[in-house]
């Protein structure tokens, strides 16, 4: 089948005596959330197209522990981290790519102190590198001139100072990149971070995702681009709440590129 995804696991490659160039850390949202699974597949399509030698952990992957840590459960976080590090080190993983900024931040910053040292990149950084190396080519056609705004995920932007990789990719699509009132260093959170994704918000006058969606809709984009499965969910809900889902799409950068390439 032409469009069947090739998703090798570390276990399979290991059995065949092979070591992939990069481990794709799928994350819980990317594995289980229906919306986020589409992002995972879009990213894998690009990896397949570019013939990137990669593998996933599959059933050996487990939550990084990020939501537990942000909720204050350091114990559970470290249990998760130590278990994951054992698996990663057993496979002698050197480089990790992930489409989730929360996994990215935790793997990159918090695992080294517990014995997990890897080069960790966000998928937008990885895609940008593929483009620069000429391993993918992007024909913007479909998105030419479209108004696209990028919502900075807190754990990619402020937390790790990655602002330009996703924007460079949007520009490459020949799209019109427009910025929200709050962007980059002063980007407004979608409301999901710090384990808020998994609980009801405290009493207030508004939900954070509605505030952020309003900021996005103010600049009249055709597409709100995201780089995080949780931001994606929050903004998709926001756009639905504003009944704009027929005119404004919320898409991950990987999805933009995959559809530009007609994958």
């Amino acid at each position: 089948m032409e469009n069947e995804l090739k998703v090798p696991t570390m276990a399979e490659l290991f059995a065949a005596g092979q070591q992939p160039e990069v481990l794709f850390w799928v994350g819980c949202a990317g594995s289980f959330d229906d919306r986020a699974k589409k992002i995972t597949k879009a990213f894998v399509k690009i990896l397949n197209k570019a013939n990137v030698s990669f593998a996933v952990l599959g059933t050996e992957e487990s939550c990084t522990g990020d939501p537990a840590k942000r909720a204050g459960n350091e114990f559970l976080f470290q249990m998760q981290a130590v278990t994951n590090i054992e698996v990663l080190n057993a496979y002698e993983v050197k480089k990790v790519v992930t489409a989730c900024p929360h996994c990215f931040n935790t793997l990159k910053n918090e695992y080294p102190g517990l014995g997990g040292n890897y080069e960790v990149v966000h998928h937008t950084q990885f895609l940008k590198q593929l483009l620069e190396d000429g391993r993918i080519s992007m024909e913007g056609g479909q998105f030419k001139g479209k108004r696209i705004t990028f919502h900075d995920p807190c754990y990619l932007g402020r937390a790790n100072n990655v602002y330009e990789a996703p924007r460079d990719l949007i520009r490459k699509l020949d799209a019109e990149l427009v910025e929200m009132k709050n962007c980059k260093k002063r980007g407004l959170c979608c409301g999901a971070g710090g384990a808020q994704m998994f609980k009801e918000p405290e009493k207030g006058s508004k939900d954070v995702n509605i505030e952020r969606t309003e900021q996005a809709l103010d600049i009249k984009p055709e597409i709100i681009a995201a780089g995080c499965p949780f931001c994606n969910t929050m903004l998709t809900d926001g756009v639905k709440n504003k009944e704009k889902e027929s005119s404004v799409a919320v898409m991950d950068i990987a999805e933009l590129i995959a559809s530009a390439e007609d994958l």
Binding site: L5, V7, T9, V26, S31, F32, D33, K37, K41, V56, G58, E61, S62, C63, G65, P67, A68, K69, R70, A71, G72, N73, E74, F75, L76, Q78, M79, V82, N105, N109, E110, G113, L114, C154, Y155, R158, A159, N160, N161, K185, R186, L188, C189, G191, A192, G193, G194, A195, M197, F198, K199, P201, E202, K203, G204, S205, K206, D207, V208, R212
Partner: protein, 441 residues
């Protein structure tokens, strides 16, 4: 008799400085109630941060209007205080304008001070208007009621009065110089106060001297009083911004510290050779408390943060939770921490250097659970702070206490954590299904 003013001056000066030194000692003791933290790393980066952020005010100008106004007051404050050096020497030695021998350079200095003084007056008036007439939202949050509001205005009044005294002193001096009064040798340039001087021209020489001397004395006494006001005020930032930016975090903002006490326990749990039924070592220290419920559980840098906070509210105005009407205000977290620390400090003073439990703590009595759980850990507050304060770290330390010591997480979060524990994901999906997406079309 001749030396009486010199003696009075010396007494006032040393009393002012002595009282200030006493408060600084108390401040330092209170900060040291916090837990140890190693800040000996990356010295060049730390100096660089201090120069850029505190001395260079780089983060203040992110908001250009208050940033530039603040820059004026800051420069005015730092530069005009060179004049204080001359005032102190004149006061102790009974001289008048002891640096006058610098000639043209002296005129340049005094002229610059005057222009800055006028600019400071303008900036202070605009600041007052912003606080009291325009009613900017960040000055109206609930935590700004009462003393914090009075404190903010008081600082502006003191600065205004000091600048007016400085210009009045110069104006009277200039007038006396014009009249060739003995002792008032011609020195300095007076680009601003020359316009005030005509007010005095019909007065008798002795009246003008009285005005000049009164303004001189009130100015220096005012400065010493202001110095001693700092400890009780948010204005302490003029000193602490420097160490605070030096000791500020260098790691990526997303990197939260891994608790060492937990690492030890986790290692023990994962160690197959550890005996789970081993009797605990009798000499083992009491296990460390996880997280923070009071100021003594925080690190000393976090306590320094609290004293450095000048309650500008940039953190709160950038906070997504606060913007959407939640109770959380990062500024309040810092103000509460300082208030509680002061309370603990007074307790220690009253009990001969020992803290006696007062049945209160930072968590609950100052900061509520609701505030802590409203945080999205987005780091907007940390990014917004012009002096490198980290309110998020305090929120996270207190969440750790709530969850690990009290099991007091919201039930939704307990479900999430239960899922991670049982099946390695925050949702109730089976780990064995993790790769199913690859087979779905």
């Amino acid at each position: 008799m001749e030396y009486i003013p010199n003696i009075i001056f010396a007494i006032i000066l040393f009393a002012g400085i002595g009282f200030f030194a006493k408060n600084i000692k108390k401040l330092s003791r209170n900060i040291k109630l916090g837990k140890a933290v190693d800040t000996s790393d990356n010295k060049p980066q730390r100096w660089n941060n201090m120069f850029r952020i505190a001395l260079g005010q780089t983060k203040m100008v992110v908001r250009p209007i208050p940033g530039i106004l603040h820059l004026i007051v800051y420069l005015g404050f730092v530069i005009i205080n060179i004049e204080v050096l001359e005032i102190i020497m004149d006061g102790l030695l009974g001289t008048h304008r002891i640096f006058a021998f610098l000639g043209g350079f002296y005129s340049f200095l005094i002229g610059s001070f005057e222009i800055l003084a006028l600019l400071v007056i303008v900036a202070v008036v605009v600041f007052w208007i912003r606080r009291n007439l325009i009613k900017l939202k960040r000055f109206l949050n609930p935590e700004m009621k009462g003393w914090p509001k009075k404190d903010g205005n008081m600082i502006l009044y003191i600065e205004l009065v000091l600048m007016i005294l400085f210009l009045t002193m110069n104006a009277a001096d200039y007038q006396l110089q014009q009249m060739n009064v003995a002792h008032y040798t011609k020195a300095g340039a007076f680009p601003i106060s020359q316009f005030i001087a005509p007010l005095f021209q019909d007065m008798s020489t002795s009246s003008i001297i009285l005005i000049e001397r009164s303004a001189w004395w009130l100015h220096i006494v005012g400065i010493l009083m202001f110095l001693n006001y700092l400890y009780y005020s948010k204005h302490l930032h003029i000193l602490l911004a420097f160490p605070n930016t030096y000791f500020g975090r260098l790691k990526p903002k997303g990197q939260f510290e891994n608790l060492e006490a937990v690492t030890k326990e986790v290692k023990l749990m994962m160690d197959p050779s550890a005996d789970p039924f081993a009797a605990p070592d009798e000499n083992a220290p009491v296990p460390e408390k996880f997280g923070a419920s009071d100021v003594m559980d925080l690190k000393w840098v976090q306590l320094l943060n609290a004293y450095t906070c000048t309650e500008c509210g940039r953190c709160t105005s950038e906070c997504p939770a606060n913007q959407t009407g939640k109770k959380l205000s990062p500024r309040k977290i810092m103000m509460d921490t300082r208030d509680r620390l002061e309370e603990v400090g007074k307790n220690i003073d009253a009990n001969k250097g020992e803290f006696v439990a007062d049945g209160k703590q930072l968590l609950g009595d100052y900061i509520t659970h609701e505030e802590l759980w409203a945080c999205t850990s987005c780091n907007a507050c940390v990014e917004a702070c012009p002096v490198s304060i980290d309110p998020l770290s305090i929120i996270m330390d207190m969440r750790q206490y709530l969850v690990m010591e009290q099991s007091a997480a919201p039930s939704d979060l307990n479900n999430m954590m239960g899922n991670i524990e049982n099946n390695g994901a925050p949702w109730p999906f089976n780990q064995m299904d993790r790769l199913n997406w690859s087979k779905e079309s």
